[in-house]
């Protein structure tokens, strides 16, 4: 049962953020984050369970044996129906999926950033010339004397 929920969730996540342009899909990357969020909160867990059941039902009603065998377009059609019928579930799932995906070191590195902690490394910036403010200064004071 748990395994089935996990597999379905992975397929849903891959539909939300499919593998593309050298980026892996969210099924591999964000799954643990979404499951951890559900494990940390009974409300989130219940929302997730209900939502996934609805996805499964909708996928079967669409003529298949579930979401996994469908192609990306058909999966998207199923999920768009669920987005309408279960807005709270869907909204929090997308939010959580994006959180998990875009905080994962693999994705952060793929975006061209250093995936480690920001501190103490920070960012090195090239020294700047003082900005040219001559035009702004030339206008003279723009405040009201009071």
């Amino acid at each position: 049962m748990l395994e089935a929920r996990r597999n379905l969730l992975a397929v849903v996540l891959d539909t939300l953020v499919p593998a593309s342009a050298g980026f892996p899909g969210a099924g591999a990357i964000a799954l643990d984050h979404v499951l951890a969020a559900a494990a940390a909160s009974p409300e989130v867990d219940a929302l997730l369970s209900d939502g996934l059941s609805a996805v499964d039902d909708a996928a079967r009603a669409a003529g298949g044996v579930g979401l996994a065998p469908l192609g990306q377009d058909d999966r998207e059609r199923v999920l768009r129906r669920i987005e309408q019928s279960h807005p709270a579930f869907f909204d929090s799932l997308v939010r959580c999926a994006y959180d998990g995906y875009y905080s994962h070191p693999t994705i952060v590195a793929r975006l061209g950033l250093d995936p480690g902690p920001l501190h103490p490394r920070g960012h090195r910036l090239a020294p700047e010339e003082p900005p040219d403010l001559a035009r702004v200064i030339a206008r003279g004071p723009i405040y009201r004397r009071a």
Binding site: V17, Y98, D99, P105, H119, G122, H123, I137
Partner: protein, 532 residues
């Protein structure tokens, strides 16, 4: 109940204003005790030390107490407000989270009634506060450049300005093309080592705290000095109410310690520095036969005239990468082109543009302050890649006018972890503010397009934008129309002072903390003068 020794001055709240006042009083040899409901923040606890730092912005490091829900937080019922109040409860107060954008109010901001016929004049002016602005700048450490024609000449800034970098320079070009004012932000963020603190390493998210100590949160500026001067700071000490003696003077405060035990701290003088929501809450919870409607509230104005700065967010999308993840998040440049009143624009008073940095990886997906989530599905990657590190947000920060219906009062049922009644916030954006923001949105769009943006997205009013909490115990000469006098003393209780954001008569169109702290130092100076 344990009773502590009577002290000269009791300060309630260890944030921006409480720290400044405590330091000034301790330096004058006054015995000061400060009670703070939060704790010290260990710089190693900031999310910057973790690879998943960004996740913490919406959980344990959220600026919203209702999201964060730490034991030292109190809940705020904000369902009747179009803006959510943000704050932090710790040594350093909300400066732990702040972006340290550090503009001053302008001279005209203290003369709103005389110049524009709205709201009220302050009973003090820019010239009176100027030495305190300067003193506060030295204590906090300000990066910037003097010579801004939007202000009277200022004293030298402590360090050079924060870097414009690609993003700031791009926007400056837009303002230049239109012939509009812009200037590198005055920021309380060190760009060189100063006063024993280290320079900024440009890591980015100042809103999650600053592990370097370059950002001037008062736990690293005023507090070490105040403690060295002998001030006593009691943390995890939550004040329930201010006590009143038979003489009608404040006698001290009742507070819960970290074990939940009730104490009384007696004092000759009490100074409240609990911020624009915490201060009216405390006064309204301090009821007695003499003050059945809340302490120092004969005017009925405690909690009223709440001002936020309403913010509209206007985000431009550019073709090139802007490197917007490096450098202090909240500041790069500011424009005050539309600051002073021009009635032909359809509203009174004005606004500033603040140019923030870019969107971090998660915020790029969720839309950040504009909230336009990148679509999911097949199109996701293309949309995301078009947006990531190619956006620049111009914040329109408008001057709110004081209105009595916008207020903090006590929620009939909600309480904090100690059972103390919690505040309720009611706030509606006024017609004047709406017109002002709409004007700002249109002008920001123009500026972004002039800078090269090919698309512009707008959030007409940022809900999670209640950074500035002001006006709820306003200063004035007339006890019927104000809570404190021009010296910061409550009209109704002469040994009770207020120094935080609630003192503000009007809120100007810039971030308030530089001015809040200058007022706090000015009030402290008066307390010292009157004692000698």
């Amino acid at each position: 109940m344990a009773a502590d020794d009577r002290t000269d001055v009791l300060v309630i709240g260890a944030g921006a204003s409480g720290a400044a006042v405590t330091w000034r009083l301790a330096g004058a040899g006054v015995r000061v005790v400060c009670l703070e409901q939060g704790d010290w923040v260990d710089p190693r606890a900031y999310p910057h030390w973790r690879a998943d730092w960004e996740l913490h912005r919406h959980t344990d490091w959220s600026a919203e107490p209702n999201v964060r829900r730490l034991p030292q937080d109190y809940p705020v019922n904000d369902t009747g407000s179009s803006i959510s109040p943000l704050m932090y409860n710790a040594v350093g107060g909300s400066t732990i989270h702040w972006s340290a954008h550090f503009p001053r109010f302008r001279p005209s901001d203290f003369r709103v009634r005389s110049l524009d016929g709205v709201a009220d004049d302050w009973p003090i002016d820019y010239a009176t506060l100027e030495p305190f602005f300067d003193l506060n700048d030295r204590m906090m450490g300000v990066a910037g450049i003097t010579g801004d024609p939007a202000y009277p000449p200022k004293s030298a800034r402590q360090t050079p300005p924060i870097p414009l970098d690609t993003l700031g320079a791009t926007m400056a070009r837009g303002f230049d093309r239109l012939g509009w004012h812009w200037w590198p932000s005055d920021s309380a963020i060190l760009t060189r080592d100063y006063d024993g603190r280290r320079a900024c390493i440009n890591c980015g998210p100042c809103d999650l705290g600053c592990p370097t100590g370059a950002k001037a949160s008062t736990d690293v500026t005023y507090w070490p000095k105040a403690l060295a001067l002998g001030a006593r700071l009691v943390t995890r000490a939550r004040v329930r109410e201010i006590t009143l003696g038979p003489d009608g003077l404040a006698g001290g405060a009742l507070y819960f310690d970290r074990e939940g035990r009730l104490h009384e701290q007696k004092a000759h003088t009490v100074v409240i520095a609990a911020n624009g929501v915490g201060t009216p809450r405390l006064l309204l919870n301090s009821r007695s036969a003499r003050f059945p409607d809340g302490l120092a509230n004969r005017s009925g104005l405690v909690g009223r005239n709440l001002m936020f700065h309403p913010y509209a967010m206007v985000r431009g999308l550019f073709d090139e990468r802007l490197h917007g993840l490096r450098g202090p998040l909240g500041c790069s440049i500011i424009s005050q082109e539309f600051y002073e009143t021009d009635l032909s624009r359809g509203f009174v008073r004005g606004y500033s543009f603040q140019v923030a940095r870019g969107l971090s990886p998660i915020a790029s997906a969720t839309g950040g302050s504009v909230g336009d989530r990148v679509p999911w599905g097949r199109e996701h990657r293309r949309h995301y890649d078009t947006r990531f590190d190619r956006t620049l947000t111009v914040a329109v920060i408008g001057e709110d006018l004081p209105e009595p219906e916008n207020r903090v009062d006590i929620d009939p049922t909600l309480t904090d972890g100690h059972g103390i009644p919690a505040p309720r916030v009611s706030y509606t954006l006024s017609e004047n503010s709406r017109r002002m923001l709409d004007h700002g949105i249109a002008r920001a769009r123009e500026a972004l397009e002039a800078a090269g943006a090919r698309e512009v997205a707008v959030n007409p009013l940022l809900r999670a934008g209640g950074w500035h909490l002001m006006g709820t115990a306003r200063m004035g000469r007339d006890p019927a129309t104000s809570v404190i006098d021009p010296e910061g003393r409550c009209h109704d209780v002469p040994n009770l002072y207020i120094v935080d954001g609630s003192t503000m008569v009007t809120c100007a169109a810039v971030n308030p903390t530089s001015t809040i702290q200058a007022v706090a130092l000015y009030v402290a100076d008066g307390i010292v003068r009157r004692r000698s």
